[in-house]
Amino acid sequence: MMALIIAAREFRTLFVSPLAWAVLGVMQLILGFMFLTQLDYYLMLQPRIAGMEDAPGVTDMIIVPLFGNTGVLMLLVTPLLTMRLIAEERRNRTLSLLFSAPVSINEIILGKFFGVFAFLLVMVALIALMPLSLLLGGGLDFGKLAACLLAMALLLGSFASIGLYISAHSAQPTVAAVATFGALLGLWIIDWSGKSDDKSGGVLQELSLLHHYENLLRGLVSTTDLAYFFLVIFAFIVLSVHSLDNDRLQK
């Protein structure tokens, strides 16, 4: 229960800071532009692919690229949102206050995580508005859209949980932001070196966020991809709890 209260407080804190609004505004501007260019491109291409037998549809041509781009953008943005979670408490010396409060560390971490995750879900909802606006002029492949939204939510959950873990380790929010960005980008591109057809690439590929994200974007929901994201989220939450707990004992 305490976790929910902390989450709610965290969520509100985000919205009273201009940072969150700026992030929302900038993201909307960029994604809106990307969406419109993609839409324009499709409208231009439409008469040409009308005769093709296995032509892609609106969802394949507009929405999947939009979600692909959003993934990259969020790679840059999420560290800004997660950097202050624990690091700022530590810098402002309020962490000891939090420790002494009648809340378990589990609850603190879960609260912090869900606070940021709720904000990220608001962003997912905003992004979802764009595909839905296309219903004004045609149909959508709702199954695929659902898979895309699920993929985005899971990806942002993983981003948040990794950001939280790094924030729990650092005393400076900016350091946390840079480190998180590095870690996320590393996990994103880890399979670039491995060729898709040889065996050694297999393990790196399984570790790559991008690989699993793109699999889900195809509309093919596999338990492997779901398990990967859940394991990443869960593992980094547990590790955050563990490192904070350790912090409390050792100092």
């Binding site: 700026a22 505004g25 994604l31 296995d54 394949d60 296309l134 509309g219 338990t223 593992a235 050792q250």
Partner: protein
């Protein structure tokens, strides 16, 4: 709790143990998740899943199918092929695939006769099939052909100056014979003067442009073979039928005198007017899925005449500008001359003939080869040209594919599995001008502005406090 140096060490060790254990367990779970997989296709029309027809074919596979993809290192091309193949791999784990860059393996490319970037080579039980366009219809039908594999034997008649399936001479058919071997088809030769019988298990007899008159005894043996329901591929060059006239009569066909000349071929940079192009094919089982241009040097025209119990279908026809030239080809200016009995195009170069298989042979065929599914009808192809399969012209246009198609039609059950491509359901998008302007305004101006203004207002309020 009192904490001293000793407890610090203990806590540290404890941490290390926890970390090791936790990461191991997480890794293990991750590994398990790649071993036991359930997949759900959420797309409309299940576009990521193999169609029912393909699944039926894949179910029949009893040993691994190795697919080699010859594609350059281009992400777009490779991803498209991989996407297709993964649908098979997800359904049946025994389908394996590997990518080869044709630029780095020129020998293999030459040996396998790969011609197109992105060509697939499917291998199953030592037989192989090639697919040039990696779509579901092509791959599934190739698998189907591999499944029917079995023993297929082509018997080439020899002893009359025929083109040989082994020799590498310009006029011989060595390359075509190699291609047959790669497909698991045995190509053997038969000299009726030495062995006066056509083997029982012959899938199709090939008469590859005899240049010497056949003896009447030999013709009778061939006729016996045909009467028992044997299949025949007959390549007849321009000129004399060399004693095979009784066969023409039986098929209800007539060889027109002269060589076909086609001046329109010159438009395509071919200087020799005796090269005839065929660009369109009728919807016949032997020509299914075939649309590449083919080239026939020194071809002769055929036409139907008289009664026959076969059903002849013209499968190869020239363009309208072609005619049969009976005069000398050496003349500088070739002209159509109706007085000399020359015939104006379109002329038929190839006929496919079919009739219901005589009852005695139908049973026999079933018992000799259990694996093969021989056609339920007797099939004969008569082509007024032999050069198109000769070594020097096999590479022109779609000549090789045409030969393969003909052999497949003659020797195999040709149930073609028609798989309509999966189409996205959401292709129509008709935004009215107002709607598109509204979308642009809302997402590009209104929403960002709303966020920026709220942020500014909040920042301003907090500063005042």
């Amino acid at each position: 709790m009192k904490i001293n140096a000793r407890t610090h060490l203990e806590i540290r060790l404890q941490n290390l143990a926890f970390l090791c254990l936790f990461l191991t367990i997480t890794g293990l779970l991750g590994w398990l998740s790649t071993r036991y997989v359930a997949e759900f296709d959420w797309t409309a029309g299940n576009r990521n899943t193999l169609s029912e027809a393909s699944r039926k074919v894949v179910d029949l596979l009893d040993s691994p199918v190795n697919i080699t993809v010859f594609a350059r290192e281009e992400k777009v091309l490779r991803d498209r092929i991989k996407d297709q193949l993964e649908r098979y791999q997800r359904y049946n784990k025994s389908v394996t695939c590997r990518f080869i860059n044709p630029d780095t393996q020129p020998t293999q490319v030459r040996e396998q006769g790969i011609t197109v970037d992105g060509e697939l080579l499917l291998e199953y039980h030592g037989h192989s099939e090639k697919v040039q366009e990696a779509n579901e219809s092509g791959i599934t039908n190739a698998l189907q052909r591999l499944l029917q594999g079995g023993e297929r034997r082509l018997v080439f008649l020899e002893g009359h100056g025929e083109r040989s399936p082994r020799n590498k001479g310009d006029a011989d058919m060595g390359q075509f014979g190699d291609e047959m071997t790669r497909k698991g088809i045995t190509a053997s030769t038969l000299n009726l003067a030495q062995t006066p019988a056509i083997p029982e298990n012959t899938s199709a007899l090939v008469l590859a442009s005899p240049r010497v008159r056949l003896m009447s005894g030999e013709v009778r043996l061939i006729q016996d073979y045909l009467n028992k329901g044997g299949n025949l591929l007959w390549l007849q060059d321009a000129g004399d039928a060399h004693g095979l006239e009784p066969l023409l009569q039986q098929f209800g066909l007539k060889l027109l005198p002269g060589v076909i000349v086609d001046p329109s071929a010159q438009l395509f940079g071919i200087n020799d007017p005796t090269f005839v192009m065929v660009t369109e094919y009728p919807p016949h089982p032997a020509m299914r899925g075939f649309s590449i241009m083919t080239l026939f040097p020194m071809a002769s025209a055929l036409e139907t005449s008289g009664k026959t119990d076969f059903q002849p279908t013209p499968i190869l026809s020239t363009l309208r500008h072609a005619w049969t030239e009976t005069g000398s080809l050496k003349e500088t200016k070739l002209q159509f001359d109706a007085d000399k009995g020359e015939r104006q195009g379109p002329l038929v170069i190839g006929f496919a003939l079919a009739r219901a298989r005589p009852a005695s042979q139908a049973n026999n065929a079933g018992s000799t080869a259990e694996n093969t599914a021989p056609p339920q009808e007797q099939r004969i192809a008569v082509i007024g040209d032999g050069d198109f399969l000769a070594n020097s012209y096999l590479g022109e246009g779609g000549n090789l594919n045409l030969g393969v198609n003909l052999v497949n039609w003659l020797t195999q059950d040709d149930r073609f599995i028609n798989i309509p491509p999966l189409t996205a359901t959401d292709r129509a998008l008709n935004l009215s001008p107002i709607a598109s302007i509204a979308i642009a305004i809302v997402f590009l101006i209104l929403l960002p502005l709303l966020f920026f203004v709220s942020g500014a207002v909040i920042w301003f309020k907090r500063r005042k406090r």
